[in-house]
Symmetry: C2
Subunit: 233 residues, 2 copies
């Protein structure tokens, strides 16, 4: 695996996230995500094409090649391992790890990352619940469904939150929802597709609450929030 510049790596990583599966990625979408100009994207696409990291015909959008995907997974591995390190060892808050990991991910010593992985105990998911690729690029794709898809009365555990903004994290924190929280959907309302959920006693937390043996009362959350919370059964 060759070395790529920080800028190249940011393009590759972002294309990977945008081309969820087989989608083709557009110049404008990529420029938007990277806070840059379409013209800069075109320049970089030409360069990455000559390096055989992506397929690209002018005006036709682009997709990572197999080699490009490998590189992307390696960057994502580095990013998520650092996120795990920051949260787990340095006690960063869940919502602070991303920005710092954006810098650390570009330090590309293979030995460093493999030793870090070992030190951390080969974690499978980062603090946001995203799976961490192993050194071969394989990662767990354990069934993670959105809260909107979770059947009523089916117990589940929060394993991932996507698209987190500061506002969203504030709301989650207020409602005491974190990775690992166990819950059930109690009712779904057609009117605005909001859903009522009930948090369950987590294994660790056994203190008496003021709500009796059944814990806190159920409460409503919006569809917009539910879409962004993923759970495992």
């Amino acid at each position: 695996m060759l070395n790529y510049s920080t800028s190249e790596e940011n393009y590759i990583k972002t294309i990977y996230h945008l081309q969820n599966g087989q989608n083709t990625v557009s110049t404008n979408a990529l420029a938007e995500k990277l806070s840059t100009r379409p013209a800069s994207v075109t320049d970089m696409m030409k360069k990455l094409k000559t390096k055989k990291l992506l397929h690209y015909q002018p005006y036709q959008g682009f997709r990572l090649s197999n080699e490009g995907k490998k590189v992307a997974l390696d960057i994502i591995r580095r990013h998520r391992l650092w996120e795990y390190f920051l949260a787990e060892k340095l006690k960063f808050k869940w919502d602070e790890v991303h920005a710092v990991a954006e810098d650390l991910e570009h330090v590309s010593s293979k030995k460093l990352i493999d030793k870090l992985d070992e030190y951390l105990g080969y974690p499978k998911f980062d603090p946001h619940g995203d799976p961490i690729p192993d050194s071969l690029g394989k990662m767990d794709s354990s069934r993670q469904i959105s809260l909107t898809e979770l059947p009523v009365n089916q117990p589940a555990e929060v394993c991932r939150v996507i698209n987190q903004s500061d506002e969203m994290l504030e709301l989650l924190q207020h409602k005491k929802i974190t990775i690992g929280t166990r819950l059930e959907v109690k009712k779904k309302f057609g009117f605005d597709r909001s859903i009522e959920i009930k948090l369950k006693q987590s294994k660790g937390a056994l203190q008496r609450s003021p709500h009796g043996p059944s814990g806190q009362p159920p409460f409503l959350i919006s569809e917009q929030l539910a879409k962004n919370i993923f759970v495992t059964l």
Copy 2:
């Protein structure tokens, strides 16, 4: 404290090391250390002067300003904390930490470094024995003398090795000299200023050696090596 580019940081750090105390640093010396060309150094010196990080009059050499020294100490702090982390936590070998830390030191989140420092237990020295500046730039300057200055029969402990090349590390490894090794100078020879030293039982290592209760026999080391080994009494 503003942010500086990786390149600027490398210049600042290297000037700090070269201007040991009040020396003035020359263009050629800096170019040599940074494996770059004198013309590039001049360019950068002009830039750093406008940023008030150093004092510089054409043809007269340069010295860091107080602000420049502060920046240098911050970079050195990051570098040495990462070295400590790599050796202590990730079990990198003593001679492998420097190269990786060269990259990590440029990730400049203050919060990251302060939390790393806390996590590591506020270490005072890096794996080479160099003192680590605290978040205010203060560092231990505990008396560390070169082996060439150590009086005969004065027990001491290796605390620092400077100027380490691969060849030198090979030699140290072969003679089983590491940070923490305790020893005494037994004889000094005027002819080539080589010295004879004797390793002492380290506190930790209590296994019987084939050399009886007094440990290994004394052996000679060159002046060149002795100059680079520092000890505390």
